[in-house]
Symmetry: C2
Subunit: 618 residues, 2 copies
């Protein structure tokens, strides 16, 4: 086990071509948009507790979580930049939230004004404990980043109340969050307060979930409902990640935390097994998780349909949480490989370049003619949306993007670890460095120390890097890909130069992936590439690629405002004859033509368009 | 326009290798199973109207339709065979149903015993008018086949009541079936009674639907709800088939009937357009309709995912209804081509060889490891089920299969038309023939007249037949594929000999079908073939086929109990190395190996297995 901690977000300043633009969006148009939406839809006003039956803006069970997530995001943004107006808004939201707290510590709008008689009665669907978790996370964020205690104190009172209600001890009742989140929030609260009861309560929620007699079954829920909520069996009996993807991955994140803090090796090995299952059998090349809109769920090993992929933005964020935790607790590079893949692809694709439009689902193929709005799950549309009635994804982005820097670096007592060499600066008490380059636009990275430091410097050379060279303080170092330990001490000005060859190539799914049979994707470094119809006048769904295709790099269209390269290649393609029947026994005629792929995460920034990642190959 | 009428089911006796086994199943194990289920689940008992709140077997809004469909099936089975015990059961069910009729003619269990105050209040979801339609169809079936009037008279009273309630005339209210079916039922009632009011009411439902002010919108339903029910615009404005597949295709069937009976050329041309849209852009190679479980719906042009296909059994039956009607009203062979394709594939695949197990959804690809029962729509499972809580498919099969013979032949005043040369006998007052052969196991068909007849004999030579020969009364006839008119008179013993070369070949979806890009299916005559893992020890999802592959014919495994041939071929395939990551940059290694395909409709009769229709080709 390791005991790495992710970098404090305030210690990292990124200036790379992928994360930094998204962070800027979060601090600008996204913050504006989600704040306005949270206000105009009545979500923040609901905390004034004056809604009456028949009035507009009837509170919804998950509204509190949206407010909390925006508040958490505000704290992080204030950590990156001092914006007095934003701080004032932050404080005023905290006032309104804290004022809604009940004398016993309970704090939930819906179950205070709409169904006060049903507090904790329908845990399965009520999102009560989920909302509590997000409020706690917001409080911890405000304390960690800004040193503000008001919400933290209130949330400690709420957590004390929850601890008095739930558990196995005499006088308490059993109960589990219908949507996991509270577990990892309680761990965060424990870490800032040192209060062991919060850790024990988190451990209770993780360990009791799914045991008999089943709490949700007793509420009258079906077996499917239990599976969707990972409550059909105890986590220790799980062989695979199933059910609602976000719930599952939040649970795994919380379980990893609990296992680490309680030194529960059995539980930790369950987390390892579940990670292996989702990473190697149940996730998309983009890092996306969730194969069906029905239950927004993970389905089964190798079941990864392309066009009907759900791959919810929140699930990608949750997968990054899970991977980042496992990485910090083990130092095992396999978690970094996945973390990188999900960060550069599905985590980035959910936000448009405007910063105020979002994908809920992130399919791997799009037929633009689909009239998604008419029949599919509202989350599944071909264009990004300003907001959703269930608006978890926008409010997750506002709290996730400003924290991107903290995923890049970890520290323990003796070492500074650079997981992803995105350009920027790191500055802590014991360590400082500038990372230059434009990774992953290209692979030349120079880390220049800006402080004298006794820490070892641990640098990840991605496992996908087939060719690379490393120089440390001007000397060539021969090593394998993986984490390289470079012992200190470091002097200001010392350089570590890594040069990774990054070039586009085909990636093949395992032969078991029935839905992608006969197809391959283009990757370049950690980035998955996609064909978009706006760049490809030839029918991209009729394209087939040669497995030995030579790719060339081209500039991306100016509208995409990115220094990342596009990838051009020659391929064959087919079109249908005008009068051809839908199914014809006439073999297709193949023509030769040029195609261009762009980074997947940048798709659908130039209006509606067709898109595909997996291309038939010969 | 033509005025063909489908053959009376009593006039046709099939002995072919595809339809006849399914008819036998319907008359044996299926009848037993659906009758028992209809009784044991409380559906028939509910007509006794003695359910009270809190009691078991609470009636559901669509229960009446299940009972009606089984009753309709009983009538057809009694038309094929005299089974006194069945007739007794039939009569007893009719007694119980008729006894539930209210003094004003209304007859609906749910809205009599559960929510009597809400009669006709929630047309959008209540299935009230849908149930009425099925009861009427059952009544017409009993009268047509058995000459029984009791239920028919009751249903005339119900239809009279409905006619008094719904319409645009003063004193009536506007209203539309939330699930279309009543429309075509009223046409059938009109045809047996001659009562024009029933025709006018059917025309009203078709024509008023979707006009403003919108009846369902006034009930508070969302636009998506309207689209699912084809009530978002009037049918005359529709350019495409959208929404819930079964509703859409029942509506189209009813609209075709109304257009024909009211000589409404504009409406008929809408039906032609909608047929073209669904047949050429929105249906699967199996004749399946419905691309998503969300709303059990048609989505958009070319959107035809394989593994997540819904392709509900009821939608295939509804598509056969629509195609058969269009064929009878036009004589255009394109409708026969589609009718044949859906009959031999999706219509047959929904029932297992045991006769009492059913698919609700009929996907085109199956990963056996999917744990469908846990997270997908209950209709979507990898194995056929005995029954469903929404059990429309089993009860549709019991009324559909016994009628298969009537889809094969049509008649008008001057001609007998053989659409599909399935072996069997036809005998009407004016025409009689034996069709011998084992189509589509092989293509040699001899039609031997068993009566002297003045009718012309119109024989379809399928458009997919590339090579064929035709002999009439011993003389070679040279003609194109299509309907061939062979004028009478015919003498007993006259022979028409058709020899179609039927051999397996690849069929390619249009290049727009993004989900099947780079893949082709195997067809042999009207049958779509599929690879099933039980026959293919090599990884069938790793198979890729050569576009010039030679297919050979082999016997099917004995357990499938079919004289149809299997199709064997050499191909390449890949497996994944044990330790290979889910996504790898190592190009697959292809090996050569043998594969065998079986008729799609026979899949999943030997336990759980993987299956695929579309195979990558090079």
């Amino acid at each position: 086990m390791k005991n790495y901690k992710s970098a404090d977000l305030r210690s990292v300043r990124l200036c790379d071509p992928v994360f930094m633009p998204r962070i800027k969006l979060a601090m600008g148009p996204m913050l504006k948009a989600v704040t306005e939406q949270t206000e105009s839809t009545g979500r923040i006003g609901a905390f004034d507790l004056n809604w009456k039956e028949g009035a507009p803006f009837k509170p919804h069970v998950f509204w509190d979580s949206d407010v909390a997530k925006v508040l958490e995001g505000m704290a992080y943004i204030l950590g990156l930049e001092n914006i007095p107006e934003l701080e004032k808004l932050y404080d005023s939201w905290v006032e309104r939230i804290v004022a809604a707290q009940q004398p016993d510590g309970y704090l939930n709008v819906y179950f205070t004004v709409v169904e006060p008689e049903n507090r904790f009665k329908y845990l399965n669907w009520a999102h009560e404990l989920y909302c509590a978790g997000h409020l706690i996370e917001a409080a911890v964020a405000g304390f960690e980043v800004l040193g503000k205690r008001k919400l933290l104190d209130a949330m400690c009172r709420y957590a004390d109340y929850l601890d008095a209600v739930f558990g196995l001890e005499p006088g308490k009742r059993r109960g589990w969050p219908g949507h996991q989140e509270l577990e990892l929030a309680l761990i965060r609260l424990y870490r800032v307060t040192g209060e062991k009861r919060y850790l024990r309560l988190a451990a209770y929620f993780i360990n009791d979930r799914g045991t008999e007699p089943n709490v949700f079954a007793a509420e009258g829920n079906s077996f499917s409902d239990l599976v969707v909520r990972q409550a059909h069996i105890p986590i220790r009996e799980m062989q695979e990640v199933s059910g609602h993807a976000v719930r599952a991955l939040y649970m795994c994140s919380g379980a990893a935390d609990v296992a680490f803090e309680t030194e529960d090796k059995e539980l930790f090995s369950v987390c390892e097994k579940l990670f292996e299952n989702v990473a190697e059998r149940r996730s998309y090349i983009t890092g996306g998780v969730g194969s069906t809109p029905v239950g927004e769920a993970v389905t089964a090993d190798w079941d990864l349909p392309e066009s009907t992929a759900y791959a919810e933005s929140c699930a990608a964020i949750a997968f990054a949480f899970f991977a980042s935790r496992m990485l910090n607790y083990t130092g095992d590079i396999k978690y970094a490989e996945l973390l990188e893949r999900v960060l550069y692809n599905n985590c980035m694709s959910g936000v448009g370049n405007s910063g105020d439009e979002f994908f809920y689902a992130n399919p791997l193929q799009m037929l633009n003619t689909k009239n998604h709005s008419q029949v599919l799950n509202p989350g599944q549309k071909g264009v990004r949306q300003k907001w959703f009635s269930c608006s978890c994804c926008p409010t997750n982005y506002i709290r996730f993007l400003p924290k991107l820097g903290s995923f890049i670096w970890s520290f323990d007592e003796r070492s500074a670890v650079l997981h992803i060499p995105a350009a920027g600066e790191i500055s802590t008490e014991k360590f400082g460095a500038v990372v230059s380059g434009s990774y992953p636009a290209e692979g030349r990275i120079t880390v220049t120390m800006t402080k004298n430091s006794l820490l070892a410097f641990r640098l990840r050379i991605p496992l996908w890097a087939e060719k690379f060279s490393l120089k440390v303080r001007g000397e060539n170092v021969v090593c394998n890909a993986g984490y390289v330990d470079l012992p200190g001490p470091w002097q200001t000005g010392d350089k570590v130069e890594l040069d990774i060859e990054i070039k586009a190539h085909l990636v093949f799914p395992r032969a078991e992936v029935a839905d992608s049979a006969g197809r391959a994707a283009i990757m370049r470094g950690p980035l998955v590439y996609a064909l978009e119809s706006v760049d490809n006048p030839l029918n991209l769904h009729g394209c087939r690629i040669f497995s030995d295709t030579e790719f060339s790099e081209v500039s991306l269209p100016a509208e995409l405002d990115s220094v990342l390269p596009g990838v051009a290649f020659e391929a064959e393609y087919r079109n249908s004859e005008e009068e051809s029947p839908l199914y014809s026994s006439v073999a297709p005629k193949w023509k030769k033509g040029g195609f261009m792929a762009i980074p997947y995460y940048l798709w659908q920034n130039r209006g509606e368009s067709d898109m595909r990642i997996f291309i038939p190959f010969v």
